[in-house]
C-alpha cells in the first residue's frame, strides 16, 4: 500500500457514480471538440493560405467583377511571378441545395502555376486544357458522387442562366491534407463564350504570386494604385486576409460557438466538482479518521486531487478518442446538406486542448470540496455519520 494506491482505491467507492461522471465529462469534451472543430473549419481557409499569394478583387464588393484586361497589366508588374483568375459559378445539379459543392470557372493555362498544391497527372491536365468545356474535380468530390474521368456533369447556375455541361478531364489531389478537394473547376472559355456581350471578359478575382512575400504590401499597393481611378478599382490583400474576411462575415456565429464551447467547460467543471463534493462529503468521517491518525491536510488534498485528476483524465481521453470517429460519422450523415468535412478537420491540437481542459476544470472543480475538507475540524468530522 502507498498513498497513490490508497487514492486509487478511494476512487472505486461508487463505481456507478464515477462512471456516469466520467461519461458526462467525456460527452462535454466531445461537444467541446465538435464546436472547436467547427470554429477551426471556418479558419481552415486562412490556415491553408500561402504567404506569397495576393488576392485582387473589386474594391466595391466581392460580388462585383473585374475586367479580364487587367490580367496582362498586373502580370507585368515587378514582383509578380504568376497570375491567374477565377469566377464563382454557383452551379447546382438541381433546384435543391442538398448536392451543393463549390464550382468555379478558372484559367486552365495559369491556374496550376499559382496553386501548385493541386496535383494531377500531366495527361489529365493537358486534356483539361485542350477541352474548352473540360473540368477538373477534386478527389473528395469524385468519391462523393462517384464521378470518373470522362463523365459529363450538367449544372444550373444561380448567376449565369441556362444549363451548363462539363466534361470531366481529370481528378486532382492536394499536396497537403488541408487542401480542399471537394470542388469542380472548369475552363473560363466555356463560360465566357456563352455570355452576353455586356458580361463577357469579366472575372471574379485575380490571384497573383509574388517573388518575395516581404514585399507583398508594396506589390498590393502598386496593383491598387494602377486601377485606383478606373471604374473597376481593386482591393488587393494577402490570401490569409482575404480568407479571414469571409470568417469575419460569420464572426457573430463564431463568437457564439466559442462562447458555448466555454460554457461546456463550465458544465464539465460543475458536474465533476459536484461529484467530488459529494464524494468528499460522504468521506468526511474517513478523512477525519485519517487526520486523527496523523495524516496531514496535504495528504487529504492529494486524495482529492488524484480523484479529480483521474476523472478529468478519463473524461478527457475518452472524449478525445471518441470525438473524431463520431464527428466523421456525423459529417457523413449531413454531408448532403453541408458538403464533405475536410481531411483531418479534427486537429490534434483541439483534442489535446480538450483533454487538458477536462483535467484543468476537474482540478478546478476539486478546489472547493478540498478546501472544505481541509477546514473541517477533525473532532467535528469524526462526529459525522455518512
Amino acid at each position: 500500500m502507498n498513498y497513490a494506491r490508497l487514492a486509487w482505491r478511494d476512487l472505486g467507492r461508487n463505481p456507478l457514480r464515477l462512471s456516469l461522471t466520467v461519461l458526462a465529462g467525456a460527452v462535454g469534451v466531445m461537444a467541446f471538440i465538435f464546436l472547436r472543430t467547427v470554429v477551426d473549419m471556418f479558419y481552415s481557409g486562412a490556415a491553408a493560405a500561402q504567404v506569397d499569394r495576393l488576392i485582387i478583387r473589386n474594391k466595391v464588393a466581392i460580388t462585383q467583377p473585374l475586367p479580364l484586361s487587367y490580367f496582362p497589366r498586373i502580370a507585368a508588374l515587378p514582383g509578380v511571378t504568376a497570375i491567374t483568375h477565377q469566377s464563382w459559378f454557383g452551379g447546382t445539379m438541381g433546384e435543391s441545395q442538398r448536392d451543393f459543392f463549390p464550382n468555379l470557372a478558372i484559367d486552365p493555362s495559369s491556374f496550376m502555376k499559382v496553386y501548385p498544391e493541386y496535383t494531377l497527372p500531366p495527361g489529365q491536365l493537358t486534356a483539361f486544357q485542350a477541352d474548352p468545356c473540360g473540368a477538373l474535380i477534386g478527389r473528395k468530390l469524385s468519391q462523393r458522387f462517384g464521378w470518373k474521368e470522362g463523365a459529363r456533369v450538367t449544372l444550373k447556375s444561380q448567376i449565369y442562366p441556362g444549363e451548363w455541361t462539363f466534361n470531366i478531364r481529370g481528378i486532382y489531389d492536394g499536396t497537403r491534407p488541408e487542401v480542399d478537394t471537394s470542388a469542380l473547376v472548369f475552363g473560363y472559355r466555356c463560360l465566357n463564350e456563352r455570355l452576353p456581350e455586356n458580361w463577357k471578359d469579366q472575372v471574379g478575382l485575380f490571384t497573383v504570386r509574388v517573388d518575395d512575400p516581404a514585399r507583398s504590401p508594396q506589390v498590393a499597393a502598386a496593383i491598387d494604385g494602377m486601377f485606383a481611378n478606373s471604374p473597376y478599382a481593386t482591393l488587393t490583400e494577402s490570401e490569409r486576409a482575404f480568407q479571414l474576411g469571409f470568417v469575419a462575415m460569420s464572426s457573430a456565429i463564431l463568437t457564439a460557438v466559442k462562447l458555448v464551447s466555454n460554457v461546456i467547460l463550465a458544465i464539465i467543471l460543475l458536474v465533476i466538482g459536484n461529484t467530488i463534493a459529494m464524494g468528499v462529503r460522504e468521506r468526511t468521517r474517513d478523512i477525519a479518521t485519517l487526520r486523527a491518525m496523523g495524516f496531514r491536510p496535504r495528504h487529504v488534498l492529494l486524495f482529492v486531487i488524484v480523484e479529480a485528476a483521474a476523472i478529468g483524465v478519463a473524461a478527457g481521453v475518452l472524449g478525445a478518442l471518441v470525438a473524431p470517429p463520431l464527428l466523421e460519422g456525423f459529417a457523413r450523415a449531413v454531408e448532403s446538406q453541408f458538403g464533405p468535412m475536410p481531411e483531418n478537420a479534427v486537429r490534434v491540437q483541439t483534442l489535446v486542448l480538450a483533454a487538458l481542459a477536462a483535467v484543468g476544470v476537474s482540478l478546478l472543480g476539486a478546489v472547493g470540496p478540498a478546501i472544505r475538507a481541509l477546514r473541517l475540524p477533525v473532532a467535528e468530522g469524526l462526529r459525522r455519520v455518512a
Binding site: 500500500m1 502507498n2 498513498y3 490508497l6 482505491r9 478511494d10 472505486g12 467507492r13 468521517r285 474517513d286 479518521t289 485519517l290 487526520r291 486523527a292 491518525m293 496523523g294 495524516f295 496531514r296 475540524p377 477533525v378 473532532a379 469524526l382 462526529r383 455519520v385
Partner: protein, 227 residues
C-alpha cells in the same frame, strides 16, 4: 526528571467552551486529572457530559479553551497543528464506536494505514500488520473488506489499526456501543490483553457499565465536571 513517575496524561484546570454563534456553550469546566502509564481508565456520564470532548483533548484532536493538557510529559498546547498530527501518528491509537474503517480497503490495508506515515519499509509494514492482526485474532481475515466482516470483527480490525504503530496511549470512544454482548466481550477481552499484556495506557469512554467494569478506574463526568 524521573519519567517513570510521570503520569501518562495530566490535565490541569482544563476547560472547553464551544461557540454556537454568539452563544458560548461550556462543555468542560476546570478538569484536573492524572492517568498513570499503563493504566486502563473509563469515563462514564450522560450524553453531553463532555466525555468525548475530554477524549479529544487528551488525544490532541482538539485544544482546550483554558488549562494544560500534558501527555507523556509533553504540553500539547506547545505543538502546532502539523506537530500535533505527527505526535498523534507516533503516540496515540484510536478506536471508534463505528470502527471508522475505510470500506474500500482490506482489513490488512486498513491496519497498514497509520504505518504509511512511518519510515518503515513495505516488508516491515507487512510484518507489523500481520502481528497486529494476530493479536486481535484476525490473521485469517486479512484480505476481507469491512463490509465482509461482522461488527465485532470490524472493531477488532480497528483495534489492530490502533496498536500497529505501538502507541503508548490508546483512546477508545464507545468501543462496544455498536456491538452485541458477545462481540463486546471479545473486544473488552482484547482491551485487557492490551492493558496487561502490552502495557498500553487505555482511556475509554463508554455508556456500558459492563465495559466500564473492566477498567481499573472509572471516572464520572456530569455537565462537564469530573466527579
Amino acid at each position: 526528571m524521573d519519567t517513570a513517575s510521570q503520569p501518562m496524561v495530566r490535565l490541569q484546570g482544563v476547560s472547553k467552551v464551544y461557540r454556537r454563534g454568539s452563544v458560548e456553550v461550556p462543555v468542560l469546566e476546570s478538569v484536573d486529572l492524572s492517568i498513570a502509564p499503563g493504566s486502563f481508565e473509563a469515563f462514564m456520564g450522560p450524553s453531553g457530559s463532555g466525555k468525548s470532548t475530554l477524549l479529544n483533548l487528551i488525544s490532541g484532536l482538539d485544544r482546550p479553551t483554558a488549562g494544560v493538557v500534558e501527555v507523556a510529559g509533553r504540553d500539547l498546547a506547545r505543538l502546532n497543528d502539523a506537530e500535533l498530527a505527527d505526535w498523534r501518528a507516533g503516540h496515540v491509537g484510536f478506536i471508534f464506536q463505528l470502527y471508522n474503517l475505510i470500506p474500500v480497503l482490506t482489513a490488512a490495508e486498513n491496519v497498514e494505514l497509520p504505518l504509511l506515515l512511518s519510515p518503515l519499509s513495505r516488508a516491515e509494514r507487512r510484518q507489523h500488520v500481520a502481528a497486529a492482526l494476530e493479536v486481535v485474532g484476525l490473521s485469517h481475515r486479512t484480505h476481507h473488506r469491512p463490509p465482509e466482516l461482522s461488527g465485532g470483527e470490524q472493531q477488532r480490525v480497528a483495534i489492530a489499526r490502533a496498536i500497529v504503530t505501538d502507541p503508548e496511549l490508546v483512546i477508545a470512544d464507545e468501543p462496544t456501543g455498536d456491538l452485541d454482548r458477545k462481540a463486546a466481550g471479545q473486544v473488552l477481552d482484547l482491551f485487557e490483553t492490551l492493558h496487561h499484556g502490552l502495557h498500553k495506557t487505555l482511556v475509554m469512554v463508554t455508556h456500558d457499565p459492563h465495559a466500564a467494569e473492566r477498567a481499573e478506574r472509572i471516572h464520572h463526568l456530569d455537565k462537564g465536571v469530573l466527579q
